[in-house]
């Protein structure tokens, strides 16, 4: 009789290891392909998986094989008009057929294209990157606590009574307390029985025994079914938990000088940041603040696409960030990240104010503040003032982006793994 085994439930991805080996081996090529794509790919589907193609010559498995040429004889089916000795022109499609056969063995194609999952994509994308200052801030992060079970105690509130445990200890107490009287009772009962067997036994002794037995029975009966002593309570303790929520402030200048292309670059940058944060935090809130001379909190659509004109006062956005943090995102509960994109324009007298707000009020509350300047022109006042913050604040960073291709390298620069 055959043995019938249902293998469907187990070990589905036996090849996962091999697949990982493949990705591991060609990490360099895949990363290269990904970073080439990132500057071109459309923003909306950045959340999905990715199709990657790498040059086939890198992944070929060479073996000694026969090349075409030489003298070959082959047998084919389906002769129609040929007779022995016929000469035929060498058909052109022969090469084609060879090509197809070669590609089956992994060569001949120029590109080997395949899909990688979203997770694999993000892993490759953010490989070697880490959230800055994560370690140093680890303790500060432990701000939320969670209630967890921690065994049983002897006192507590009635709602936490553990019935099974309580009754179990009540039972053992009853057994223990009743053991001695029950033993004596059995002895007396045996004695009484002997007495009753004897003809004309001692009536007085019999009565005494009976009385004694009654007393003992009463004692046993009076052992309480449950006592406060028996009660057991479920115990709960508070355990500090790292918060897994983060908020990301996106600050953007929408004054007249910011054109759609600049905004697009900024948007890509924000998306990368968002994806990166979602790898470390379960919930990521995003707050969009746009500003010209005044700041306004808006939704995503308006943030990226509405057009405004006018001058620029950056500090308005910083103040608004500060206020929103105070109202909605206490730094004890939230990991706060902020990224500001601007073309560098600012009302000159405002830049020192920005420096002050950042240094004194914002940076102490933030995990990280990243400033990107998207411009092809020279830096202006804001850049200089921000530069001064670099010295004394290690959670502040700034970079300069000129064109699409810079986004990814700059992003990597921001979050490069710090070697300590």
């Amino acid at each position: 009789m055959a043995q019938l085994i249902d293998r469907r439930p187990n070990a589905k991805n036996k090849s996962t290891v091999n697949r990982q080996r493949f990705l591991r081996r060609y990490k360099k090529q895949i990363k290269k392909a990904i970073s080439e794509q990132i500057s071109e790919r459309s923003i909306t589907n950045i959340d999905g998986g990715e199709s990657v193609s790498i040059p086939t010559r890198d992944i070929s498995e060479p073996t000694f094989r026969n090349d075409k040429g030489g003298v070959r004889e082959g047998v084919y089916p389906g002769n129609k008009e040929f007779a022995q000795g016929d000469k035929i022109k060498r058909p052109l499609n022969q090469g084609q057929e060879k090509g197809r056969r070669a590609s089956d063995s992994g060569e001949g194609e120029d590109e080997f294209a395949f899909e990688i999952s979203k997770d694999e994509y993000l892993d490759m994308l953010f490989d070697d990157l880490e959230l800055p200052n994560l370690k140093k801030n680890q303790l500060r992060k432990m701000t939320k606590s969670k209630t967890v079970r921690a065994g049983f105690t002897n006192d507590g509130v009635p709602t936490n009574i553990n019935i099974v445990r309580s009754l179990r200890s009540a039972l053992s107490r009853r057994v223990a307390m009743g053991a001695e009287p029950r033993r004596v009772l059995h002895e007396l009962e045996a004695e009484l029985e002997v007495l009753e067997q004897e003809v004309g036994g001692d009536e007085a002794k019999r009565l005494a025994l009976q009385e004694e037995i009654e007393v003992l029975r009463g004692r046993i009966r009076r052992i309480p079914f449950i006592d406060t002593f028996d009660l057991r309570f479920n115990n709960f303790v508070q355990r500090p938990e790292p918060t897994s929520q983060a908020v990301m402030f996106c600050l953007m200048d929408v004054s007249g000088s910011m054109d759609q292309e600049t905004k697009d670059i900024a948007k890509r940058f924000y998306i990368l940041l968002y994806l990166f944060l979602t790898r470390s935090y379960r919930d990521v809130d995003v707050v969009y603040i746009r500003h010209h001379t005044q700041a306004k909190e808006v939704d995503e659509e308006e943030f990226f696409y509405s057009r405004e004109t006018g001058g620029t006062i950056v500090s308005s956005a910083l103040e608004m960030t500060r206020d929103i943090i105070a109202q909605r995102y206490p730094p004890t509960d939230w990991n706060i990240y902020a990224a500001q994109a601007s073309d560098g324009d600012n009302w000159n007298d405002d830049s020192p104010v920005c420096e002050q707000i950042l240094a004194k009020q914002l940076l102490p509350q933030l995990r990280y503040y990243a400033y990107v300047e998207i411009t092809k022109r020279d830096h202006q006042g804001l850049w200089d003032h921000y530069s001064r913050l670099l010295e004394s604040n290690d959670n502040f960073a700034m970079q300069h982006i000129r064109q699409y291709e810079d986004i990814y390298p700059v992003f990597r620069e921001f979050f490069r793994k710090q070697t300590q």
Partner: protein, 497 residues
């Protein structure tokens, strides 16, 4: 008349068992001798997994399997590729994988085809008996997987991966074509492992120790014999035994790749026969099921449609043509042998005097046991089949501008076509003939290979890549000499130390 086992398309485990029992009963009547069956039901994804590791249920990990998996998965997802209905493994018990997507009819067909057709072929054919040990293969694969993952832990993934890459490049040249290898089993392997490591190392040292000193002796003895004394066709074996710098564990890995390559060698030599045999029997078994009244007419029609697709041979000018279909040729030849036995005509009596009119079951059994594709074709391909397939042979000489039709399906051509087709299945004519020729034991230890081109067919360009892999294994420079028709060295590829 008995009741059909099932009427619907859905399968259940109970039904599979019932069909298996019925088919086993029929197979016994046909005197098929098989290993016990182990039938495993798997998903399409698991089928892809099995594909990637060449059907082996337990394979060691390597990126190239991942590559194949990714490629297959993609083709399958995009609908470019159908999956095989079954994979069967030459082991005892014989493991067959059935896909869950199959209908009840397909499951029954697969049981007949794989669990009785292929299974009895594995058990009976002389090549499998001589070269593979069905009892031990699963154990050996388990051993190999463990050993290689141990090595990865000890020496690092990269190190092992590079070594495996090099071994894979030469896997086709790690086969003994003529010498019978010893069967392998895990327990034995383990016991002998330590012993072998020590011994191998001492052998290697011996070879090099003898050759290092004695300068004068070398100068006077210019006619000293080649090492190896005779050319060796099994390059991996030569490496395993003689490469000077390999660590013992590296030798063991070379051995594992070699053993697994060796295990698959008979399958590559018997494709036509193996598939033909399995198709022949599934056809007979399914029809017997129908004759016994155990399956419905719908069932048998569904079967016939599937069967016809499998054994169809597109003609050479069809867009579906991709060489001779081994299922078609094998099935046609097996059926033809039966016909020659049962109902021979004059032509058959002339061509096959010894089998015409004999007991067909005995004759087929004899053919299954004692041949491989090459000899099977040259022994049993009948003129009638050549006519049915309208076979013709074409000579393609690079030197000439035109192809020549050397023979067609007529009286003058039968013998010729039969021989040409037989050659087509002769692996040693289709794989480059490369042998270890010499080692410069007194000089820089360069290893020299010799390629003897068959009919001037050159080696593909990537030979340089393969030489690099060989260099990694050998540890010193390697040379590949190509000979011309007179046996003189025509050209040399070199990969220096």
């Amino acid at each position: 008349m008995s009741e059909p086992i099932s009427t619907g398309a859905e399968w259940t485990f109970e039904l599979i068992e019932e069909y298996h029992a019925e088919i086993a009963d029929i197979a016994e009547e046909f005197k098929l001798d098989t290993y016990p069956n182990q039938i495993e039901l798997i998903t399409a994804e698991q089928m892809l997994d099995a594909y990637a590791s060449i059907g082996m249920p337990i394979g060691y990990s390597h990126w190239s399997f991942g590559k194949h998996f990714i490629r297959n998965e993609q083709q399958y997802r995009r609908g470019h590729m159908g999956l095989a209905y079954e994979i069967v493994i030459n082991s005892n018990p014989c493991i067959a994988y059935l896909m869950e997507e199959n209908t009840m009819m397909m499951q029954a067909l697969v049981i007949a085809h794989a669990c009785f057709g292929h299974n009895s072929f594995f058990k009976g054919n002389y090549l499998f008996q001589a070269w593979t040990d069905a009892e031990a293969i699963i154990d050996y694969l388990v051993f190999a997987k463990r050993y290689i993952s141990d090595c990865e832990e000890r020496y690092g993934i990269d190190e092992v991966e590079n070594l495996l890459d090099s071994c894979h490049a030469l896997q086709n040249h790690g086969v003994d074509r003529y010498k019978r290898p010893n069967p392998v089993s895990m327990r034995e392997e383990k016991e002998r492992l330590k012993e072998r490591e020590a011994y191998l190392q001492s052998q290697v040292n011996d070879l090099w120790l003898k050759t290092v000193p004695q300068k004068e002796a070398a100068e006077e003895d210019t006619t000293q014999p080649n090492f190896p004394q005779e050319p060796q066709e099994n390059i991996l074996y030569f490496i395993e035994k003689n490469a000077p710098l390999l660590e013992p564990w590296q030798r063991e890995v070379v051995r594992i790749v070699r053993k697994i390559g060796q295990y698959f060698y008979p399958q590559r030599q018997t494709q036509v026969m193996n598939e033909g045999w399995a198709c022949f029997w599934h056809y007979h078994i399914m029809n017997a099921l129908y004759d016994r009244g155990r399956v419905t007419e719908g069932f048998i029609l569904e079967f016939l449609q599937s069967h016809t697709n499998v054994v169809a041979q597109p003609e050479f000018d069809s867009q579906h043509f991709s060489g001779i279909n081994p299922y078609a040729l094998g099935y046609a030849m097996m059926t033809d042998i039966k016909r020659i036995c049962v109902d021979p005509d004059e032509e058959d009596r002339t061509w096959f005097p010894d089998i015409a009119g004999s007991n067909w079951q005995e004759t087929l059994d004899f053919a299954m046991r004692n041949f491989k594709d090459e000899s099977f074709v040259s022994q049993f391909l009948s003129p009638r089949l050549i006519r049915e397939f309208k076979l013709f042979s074409i000579l393609d000489d690079e030197q000439l501008t035109e192809l020549e039709v050397t023979s067609i399906h007529n009286d003058a051509g039968y013998q010729y076509i039969r021989q040409a087709l037989s050659n087509q299945y002769n692996l040693s004519m289709n794989e480059p003939n490369i042998q270890v020729y010499n080692v410069d034991t007194r000089g820089d230890r360069t290893l020299t290979l010799r390629h003897v081109p068959h009919k001037d067919i050159p080696l593909a360009k990537n030979r340089e890549e393969v030489l690099k892999h060989l260099r990694r294994l050998w540890g010193f420079g390697v040379k590949l000499e190509t000979l011309d028709a007179e046996g003189k060295v025509k050209s040399t590829d070199e990969c220096a130390a």
